[in-house]
Symmetry: C2
Subunit: 284 residues, 2 copies
Amino acid sequence: MDRIAYVNGSFLPIADAKVSILDRGFLFADGIYEVAAVLEGKLIDNASHLARLQRSVGEISLTLPETTERIQEIQKELVARNNLVEGLVYLEVTRGADKDRDFAFPKGVKPTLVMFTSVKNLNGPGAGAGVSVITVPDIRWPRRDIKSVALLAQVLAKQAAAEAGAGEVWMIEDGMVTEGGSSSAFILTHDDVLVTRHNSPAILPGCTRKAVVALAEERQLRVEQRPFTVAEAVAAKEVFITSATAFVQGVVSIDGKTVGGGKPGPTTGRLRNIYIEFARASAV
Amino acid sequence: MDRIAYVNGSFLPIADAKVSILDRGFLFADGIYEVAAVLEGKLIDNASHLARLQRSVGEISLTLPETTERIQEIQKELVARNNLVEGLVYLEVTRGADKDRDFAFPKGVKPTLVMFTSVKNLNGPGAGAGVSVITVPDIRWPRRDIKSVALLAQVLAKQAAAEAGAGEVWMIEDGMVTEGGSSSAFILTHDDVLVTRHNSPAILPGCTRKAVVALAEERQLRVEQRPFTVAEAVAAKEVFITSATAFVQGVVSIDGKTVGGGKPGPTTGRLRNIYIEFARASAV
């Protein structure tokens, strides 16, 4: 059966799910997106994703066409209609389609709201396996705190990773790791301090990153939020990434150098379990 | 009558011209665009636009789904079907729509090719009138030589101009003007030297910019290709912008300061006429 997607009030087969060629998401990358994981048919950490959505649209003066409550209802209806057990719901809001193409904001145009689901193994066999990482220069614009669909730099970075047989790419700026192509970066030092870059316009404020930091601190793990270098990561006790759909995933090599003993470490595994427990408990 | 647009081999009313919500132009800004002016029903400087299109797609390892010869045929057919006398043809090529959303390049997916026309007064009454400019920090990524649809920074900059009642925005980096939100920036010094920033990844290699530089040099005007400051522009004899659809347009104020005597200067006017003459002569 064809997947059912959502486009501006309608649920329809994904093959029929289309937007105008005048949609500003298509013409200008004038849109914001979010990805929420689904486990056992429920949305994970969704309040955090909707809060970030609200923040991102505010940063580009875009008004959501629906309340976040209504957006969550649509997400849940989409999960139900697709009988989605494990995977994700993608959502995108754009500044809509005007009658013509003009850079400045259109007047009286309703924003576009689009959603679709994807089936994905998030917690089944192999899902928590270690991932290899390569590094590339961070060539994104300086407002990476806005989760916009202007993702061409990430596309090129993640393609470089794919060509190198790596599962993720870390972006480097001024000698420091900013973050992954679609994940946040963490290291555990030999003094058992968890280090992840502090939030700023240089990185996306990761929802899973935020939850993991809070969960770690609740368990008396020391957390330092500051930039770190690739050399520090290579020398670290453990290295991992977090994202909405990877949860907590160990990094086993960086640019071909084995890290953390070549397999996901015990703290990484523990944080993954703690996160998944939190995710299940807070699922809606 | 509804405009006729082109989407992947079909000519259809623009209201029906749509792309999949999985199109990578919509999801990732993974696409390239070009805008060619139309005067008297003919395409202006189109070979230059198609050469730049070819270069841009190459920079992101995207293959055009049609030859540039065929693309020009489609552009011309679109002009004819819309009885377009004066305006523009917009074209966009994206990496197509895969079955799902994944950053890395999809395999076996045909790129999307979309075109539409817009009616616009390019050379009629008022078209060469002076324009006001404001300045904003240039917050784009460092690969501005690629004409990608990742235009959110330009959208925000041009919106700032619109809110300030200005017709264009100049983006400033390290104290120097890079370029306009959708145009190249020129000044004429009091020594009658034409100055425009040299091509590099910091700016888009403007097609009209290139033609104007060549036409000026042919006429023994001295041209220096180097960055300049806003202060230099404010103090200049004349200031103007170039773009595919503005041709050569005088700048009359920058951030509220009158420049070039508050009206398009004689060299600006002369270059505009020379460019339009070239445009007509080379139109196809």
